[in-house]
């Protein structure tokens, strides 16, 4: 693991297989991952590309590892990460996102996400830092309640709209 990495961990009341589907299948990702989905189903060793609901490119890279959870061993989904949704971020070299999806008890799954290889991608480092927290929380909420988190508005941090 690179020293210059973000590390996140979250517990989700769902099976590892459900979480695996949420990470790797477009029907799930578009519901919590800023509407993005895989253009083609991801395959180990192949390139991938995700797009937003409006068709705009989001991320591309290579699926370096794709091992679903099975028989008590954790699921591993490792993808290189090259941003397409922003011109400045697009100039930076690909980084690496590693998902580890592990059973943590009856009906409980531990998701660890490491976004590393960011040594030469300072803008991406800053850009994804808080973004992943929201993505993971939204995925958890979707799996546990059937609904993703409501979309966050920039102006919503501390004020509430005045009811008319």
């Amino acid at each position: 693991m690179s020293l210059n990495a973000h590390v996140y961990q979250i517990y989700i009341a769902a099976s590892p297989e459900q979480v695996w589907a949420a990470v790797t299948e477009s029907e799930w990702t578009r519901r919590y991952f800023h509407t993005t989905s895989f253009v083609e189903p991801p395959q180990q060793g192949k390139t991938y590309r995700t797009v937003g609901v409006d068709g705009r490119p989001a991320i591309d890279g290579v699926i370096e590892e794709m091992q679903p959870p099975a028989g008590g061993s954790p699921g591993r989904f490792v993808q290189t990460w090259h941003t397409l949704y922003d011109a400045a971020l697009e100039q930076e070299p690909p980084s690496r996102v590693e998902w580890t999806i592990e059973n943590a008890g009856e009906g409980l799954t531990r998701v660890r996400l490491v976004h590393g290889n960011l040594d030469h991608s300072p803008l991406t480092w800053e850009n994804v830092k808080d973004g992943w927290v929201w993505i993971l929380d939204s995925m958890k909420t979707l799996l546990e309640t059937g609904h993703p988190l409501p979309r966050v508005r920039d102006d919503q941090s501390l004020t509430v709209p005045v009811s008319s």
Binding site: M1, L3, H6, V7, Y8, Q9, V133, D137, T159
Partner: protein
């Protein structure tokens, strides 16, 4: 214990908050590196604080070869903020907005009354 309680307990101690601040400014430090921030504390003391932070899931350890590195996990703090803080902050703000509305309404009433009384 409910996860929120563990987070509050972990955050209640100034040394543990300083450890989190240390990881916030530079993530992925080893125990030795973290100990250097607390020259007055024993290595065992720092380890104990780190284990409380790990129980609350606020610090994640990962091995890199023979080195064990510590990473700040921001997810539980975000969850606690969503569950406990934004709710009350929103209510407080909406109460202020309501108060503001009343004052404006009251002011307008007074203004509209004034010409009549004059």
């Amino acid at each position: 214990m409910e996860q929120g309680s563990e987070v509050f307990r972990a955050l209640a101690d100034p040394t543990r908050r300083a450890l989190l601040d240390g990881l916030f400014s530079r993530d992925g430090q080893t125990l030795n590196e973290l100990c250097q921030h607390f020259p007055e504390m024993t290595r065992f003391g720092v380890m104990k604080h780190l284990s409380v932070l790990a129980e609350a899931d606020l610090v994640i350890t990962a091995r890199q070869g023979r080195t064990k590195r510590h990473y700040l996990n921001p997810v539980p703090i975000e969850q606690v903020a969503n569950r406990w803080i934004s709710k009350y902050a929103a209510r407080f703000t909406s109460a202020l907005v309501a108060l503001d509305d009343q004052m404006i309404a009251g002011h307008e009433t007074e203004e509209s009354r004034r010409p009549e009384s004059a």
